[in-house]
């Protein structure tokens, strides 16, 4: 780092202000990235990190402030301008065409041509050279749809590098990676810094910052709170800067006191949307008063498992019983009556009806259960009072009953879903990716709520791509790999790296019949 102190920063953003309507997304934010550093940009959801970086990448125009590249003021009207100034960005949601090859994707819009024709051979050669130069192994001629998420990310990075980016912005790059893939990414990122590039690393995972970044900038509510050297602050202090108050890190919970089995799954099989086997011979129990966590890289059958249990996807073999009652062939409504509640993975598409009001979404499924309707006619007064109480109890801020749910922030939407499902007083609660995309505050709330429900004697099944979440919330951990459960661990004794090996299919336990 010391060698870069003297030279001007590669990019500098001065007093950047951006309005969206009447509210300020960025409020006079200063930011810089120097050659040879990894600079983490931290903040809760909605703190304005992505807005700031979208401005740097030319996707948004600031209302005030200026941007300097290597000391010279520039105007970045579009991503093309940004590329011309050698700024590259890898978005959180990849922007790749699955049916095209790696090389075709990388040169999309800047095709290598010979006369009027696309010169695929040259494109492949260039990608191979690029990949070698940066130590990013990819095969240029393979179609993107056949690649794993980690490799797709590499393709995105190569795409940014293909126009020789000096400043590389990575927007929450580790959200979809296994611990091992994350380590690999960190190694690559460090390599870029050593080549003299500046890497801007957007994240809200604190331990990553400590691991990979030289400096960090914390944003809160649209403003820059601080820029620090990584060594200067502890994780705790950084978290306090992000949230503006003290945060509990570990989920506080007493040891579980599991009771009798509530959900019993035996030899369950099911298919994916493509009709390939997605869940293979899965057996496990979830007992009263425990949280069973399912760890695994996304796409290893967890989503299908949850959907089968919820009654949204048929089981092709096996048996599911809830409190001794066989629900293998039951419809969704019947399962819910039997005591199942479900916080779905895709909260906007499945968990709520975004256009319907907060009140309507909260009341869904409760007309009979909570006596919100009489003879098929909604009791609107009762629904209002009941929904209002849930809003307060779950601390859904900034929401009014008549507002469409779709206009709430992700954290508040998730609270609406959780409130509705827990209000069913379920025997068995499934939560899939319950804190995905949520900020520290909302995540903490949801974790506490799940633990409280466990202590109330609910049986809880948790699925999360976030290994740390599975490890800190669960009492027992199941690892899924290619549709099978390849390992079962006591959460207290589980080791992150060990779990990672199971998640990648390197190791597996021979399991007999699930306990019980």
């Amino acid at each position: 780092m010391s060698r870069s102190e003297k030279t001007p920063p590669l990019v500098e953003m001065r007093r950047i202000t951006k309005f969206f309507g009447e509210l300020v997304a960025n409020d006079a934010v200063d930011f810089e990235a120097r050659a040879g550093e990894v600079h983490a940009l931290l903040g809760e959801n909605g703190a304005g990190k992505t807005t700031l970086m979208n401005i740097l990448f030319g996707m948004l125009q600031p209302d005030e402030g200026e941007i300097l590249v290597q000391g010279r003021p520039v105007r970045l009207q579009s991503p093309l301008d940004a590329r011309r100034h050698r700024i590259g960005m890898v978005h959180q949601h990849f922007k790749l065409v699955p049916s095209l090859t790696v090389a075709e994707n990388i040169f999309l819009g800047q095709e290598r041509t010979r006369g009027p024709f696309v010169d695929l051979r040259r494109a492949n050669e260039e990608v191979a050279r690029l990949a070698e130069r940066y130590g990013l192994a990819v095969e240029p001629a393979v179609r993107v749809e056949r690649l794993s998420v980690g490799v797709r990310q590499r393709v995105e990075i190569l795409k940014a590098l293909s126009y020789d980016a000096q400043v590389l912005i990575l927007d929450e790059p580790t959200a979809v990676l296994t611990p091992q893939e994350t380590q690999e990414l960190f190694r690559i990122v460090r390599g870029f810094a050593e080549m003299g590039k500046a890497v801007i690393f957007i994240t809200h995972k604190l331990h990553e910052v400590k691991e990979v970044a030289d400096r960090l900038t914390v944003m809160r509510q649209g403003r820059k709170v601080a820029t620090l050297s990584t060594g200067e602050a502890s994780e705790h202090e950084i978290a306090r800067l992000m949230v503006g108050r003290e945060v509990l890190f570990r989920v506080e919970k007493d040891p579980a006191r599991p009771g009798e089995p509530v959900l019993q799954v035996r030899g369950l099989c099911g298919l994916s949307d493509q009709k390939t086997p997605a869940v293979r011979n899965v057996s496990f129990d979830v007992r009263r008063g425990e949280i069973v966590g399912v760890a695994g890289v996304e796409g290893n059958g967890q989503s299908e498992l949850i959907e089968i249990l919820a009654g949204l996807r048929p089981a092709t073999a096996g048996r599911v019983t809830l409190l001794g009652r066989d629900i293998t062939r039951a419809g969704v409504a019947e399962r819910r009556r039997a005591g199942l509640a479900h916080v779905p993975e895709d909260r906007m598409d499945r968990g709520v009806s975004p256009k319907a009001s907060v009140q309507e979404n909260l009341a869904a499924g409760h007309y009979g259960a909570s006596a919100l309707a009489r003879r098929g006619v909604l009791d609107l007064r009762r629904i209002r009072a009941w929904a209002q109480e849930l809003l307060q109890r779950y601390d859904v801020r900034g929401a009014s009953l008549s507002l469409p749910v779709g206009s709430l922030s992700g954290g508040n939407v998730q609270k609406v879903v959780l409130a509705r499902e827990i209000a069913l007083a379920p025997q068995f609660l499934m939560a899939a990716q319950p804190t995905r995309g949520l900020d520290v505050g909302a995540t903490e709330f949801i974790h506490k709520t799940l633990v409280a429900e466990r202590d109330r004697g609910r049986a809880i099944l948790l699925v999360s791509a976030e290994l740390s979440e599975v490890m800190s919330l669960s009492d027992r951990i199941l690892v899924m790999y290619r549709g099978e459960i390849v390992g079962e661990f006591d959460a207290a004794a589980a080791d992150e790296n060990e779990l990672g090996l199971y998640m990648m299919g390197v190791k597996r336990q021979e399991r007999g019949e699930a306990d019980g």
Partner: protein
């Protein structure tokens, strides 16, 4: 940059649903001015007949309401299907079947007491329309047959079927044109504003609006129907019987369109006449869209559209601006009410807001720093 005060913002939000229809109407009327000028007529006097004339006399007003009656019902029918996320483009066919079987019932049961005949005739019309809505609904829900295609095609089946029936088995032998026998006058729906053609069918239509508004807004079934329309994945996840709701919505939609036909027969034509409908069913799509697929919106939009249709006839007489201006305006209205641009605009606004929203609880603090 202009920053609206929160008072204006709130007012804007409560008026927002009206924005699109009002802008669509204004744009359509503006285009109309250009067209009228282009054909060398005077837009002021043309629009005077077009928009104002329907309110200048009791008869014109009553005739306008008579035109509005079937439009309110077909608009309502289409709105119900749209609420459930399915597209009943078959109101025209449902209306024809409803009209035909209502007429046949009224003619053939003439020996029963008149009020009973009227009720039975309306009920048969409803049933005929309901069947013609149930069919595409069932095909859609259980066999994944696209309901837009099936309802459009079933329109032709219904129109040609009634055409055959009214030309052969049910033709009035004394009439020169293909039509059924006349319904006895005591079985007609009474008039409302004599000597205009307005009739009690308007009350039936408004009553249906009230019932449907209650059904959609205040009952569990209506809530289910709207959930299915808004987000079928959510409905499925909640355990709502999505297929049954879809079939129910299409059946209800068809039933209302069938009622429109029956009411038209009992109130206006007093018999089934081949080709009696000037696209009441198809116009229902425009009415539903203009009314933002809301039951009360359909009532308002139905009246508005009737003003256009009747005004256009008066305009044609008074100023020789052709009636077909209405078709042009209708096209523009549909275009604007369905325009992708609106979706785009709204999405842009939504995209713009997430960072702002997160800051909302502390809005005061943020605003405090904003001006500096």
């Amino acid at each position: 940059m202009a920053e609206p005060t929160s008072g204006f913002a709130r007012l804007g939000r409560s008026l927002a649903p009206l924005l699109q229809p009002v802008l669509a109407i204004l744009t359509a009327l503006a285009v109309g001015v250009v067209i009228i000028m282009a054909i060398g007529k005077d837009p002021v006097s043309a629009y005077q007949s077009f928009l104002v004339a329907s309110f200048t006399s009791r008869v014109r007003f009553g005739n306008m309401l008579a035109t509005a009656t079937p439009l309110i019902l077909t608009g309502l029918a289409v709105a119900v299907s749209f609420q459930a996320g399915v597209f009943n483009i078959g109101a025209e066919g449902q209306l024809y079947l409803g009209a035909f079987w209502a007429a046949v019932t009224a003619v053939h049961l003439a020996s029963l007491p008149a009020p009973l005949v009227i009720l039975l005739s309306l009920a048969v019309g409803v049933l005929a329309g309901a069947l013609w809505g149930f069919l595409p609904g069932w095909l859609r829900a259980f066999l994944h047959v696209n309901e837009v295609v099936s309802t459009i095609m079933l329109n032709y089946v219904a129109m040609l079927l009634t055409e055959y029936l009214v030309n052969h088995p049910f033709k009035d032998p004394t009439a020169g044109a293909p039509m059924t026998r006349m319904i006895p006058p005591r079985e007609w729906l009474g008039s409302l504003l004599p000597p205009s053609s307005a009739h009690w069918g308007l009350v039936v239509a408004i009553g249906t609006v009230v019932v449907v508004a209650f059904l959609l807004g205040r009952t569990v079934w209506g809530q289910y129907l709207r959930f299915v329309g808004q987000n079928p994945h959510f409905a499925e996840y909640e355990g709502i019987p999505v297929r049954r709701v879809l079939v129910g919505a299409m059946t209800l939609s068809g039933a209302i369109a069938g009622l429109a036909g029956a009411v038209q027969v009992l109130g206006i034509n007093h018999r089934f006449i081949q080709g009696f409908s000037p696209d009441f069913g198809f116009t229902g799509v425009t009415v539903a869209l203009l009314g933002r697929i809301n039951p009360w919106g359909a009532a308002v939009a139905g009246v508005f559209y009737a003003v256009l249709i009747n005004g256009a006839s008066i305009m044609q007489q008074n100023t020789s601006v052709p009636y077909s201006l209405v078709s042009i305006l209708q096209g523009i209205l549909v275009l604007f009410m369905t325009a992708e641009g609106w979706v785009w605009l709204r999405r842009r606004r939504r995209q713009a807001s997430p960072p702002a929203r997160a800051a909302e609880p502390q809005a005061g603090a943020v605003e405090g720093g904003a001006g500096t």
